[in-house]
Symmetry: C2
Subunit: 204 residues, 2 copies
């Protein structure tokens, strides 16, 4: 059934898209991200095409199934989240950077509930997706945590995997309306714990 293989990412491996095609493709991904966020993962593909100002045929040419589109959007957002780690680290005190990043992580996860279902089909054929992305995420987190530990803005006896583990609670207890608030409180709580006993920078 799922015949077409999903290219890891369509870089220069294959002849580059024609300019108009590339434009449409980018537009579609951007609009799809917005529409998925707004209407949920089951949003109408025809609406996405309409809002992107292209025909439905164009959407299907670029993304033969809903899952293909979802995957690209997902990757793009993980990318943005991870890129934000660097920027935050550059522009804020290290503990604030960490806190803000975790806040965004929560927001990000918030929109992704139910995405698992939609990706299950892809996961059978493309099992690198999760290892790819979860690798990127934990790498971003590690960067922030290590910087904060080194700067002495959070305690020195924790590492990134501890924090990731602590955030793990976010995945459980799904989908009540208060989920988001509860998760934000979790982040605050976690940050308080991390700041407590700080001031012993690992490297002065």
């Amino acid at each position: 059934m799922a015949e077409a293989v999903i290219a890891g990412d369509n870089a220069a491996e294959t002849r580059p898209l024609r300019a108009d095609a590339q434009r449409n493709r980018d537009r579609l991904v951007e609009v799809a991200a917005a529409v998925f966020a707004e209407r949920g993962i089951d949003a109408s593909l025809e609406e996405i095409a309409r809002r992107a100002g292209v025909g439905i045929g164009t959407l299907y040419r670029h993304f033969p199934t809903r899952e293909h589109l979802v995957e690209v959007v997902y990757r793009r957002e993980v990318e943005a989240l991870c890129a934000a780690a660097g920027e935050l680290a550059a522009g804020h005190p290290s503990d604030v950077a960490l806190e803000e990043w975790m806040r965004r992580f929560v927001d990000y996860i918030a929109t992704k509930r139910g995405l698992a279902t939609s990706l299950r089909i892809l996961l059978t054929t493309n099992s690198t997706l999760f290892s790819d992305t979860s690798g990127r995420v934990s790498q971003a987190l590690r960067q922030l945590v290590e910087a904060a530990v080194a700067a002495g803005t959070i305690r020195g006896d924790v590492d990134a995997s501890d924090v990731l583990h602590a955030l793990g609670g976010i995945y459980s207890a799904p989908d009540t309306p208060e989920w988001r608030d509860r998760s934000r409180r979790l982040v605050k709580l976690l940050m308080d714990g991390l700041r407590f006993g700080a001031g012993n920078p690992a490297k002065a």
Copy 2:
């Protein structure tokens, strides 16, 4: 999402259906079994309704989702398969009965590939389905195996769970076109093995 609870089976617990409603319901299940067998699990519900001579609304009233309909068909067929065990035992030598039943089991499984996907949603809400049915199946098998052992038509040092285990290979290696033939050969092979060394009836 899946709000409606699925009644275990709609026996006399609740006020009986009106005669015409019952008629339509039975018709729908019967036709659905045929259409699913013929066109696969994704067959059009509108076709089922059409062939059953009822409106699509009627189908949806009786079976609010595709999965509800699939489940009822599935249960009905398991039922039939298990009932066949008794009839076969009555009408054939015990080893022949066992062989024939396993042949039917293969045919049954053959039609059920991909059904798992369709039932996954139900399984979250209705996890008794599988334990119910797999219990019934292994019970039917046990009846046949024990009879054959007792009659001395198959060897005495195996029991039903051995046979079930041997049949387990059927589930794997999915969906090649030769699947069915290969499975039949497996059954033959298994029967040869079972007949070999027979003649030592457990009870004279």
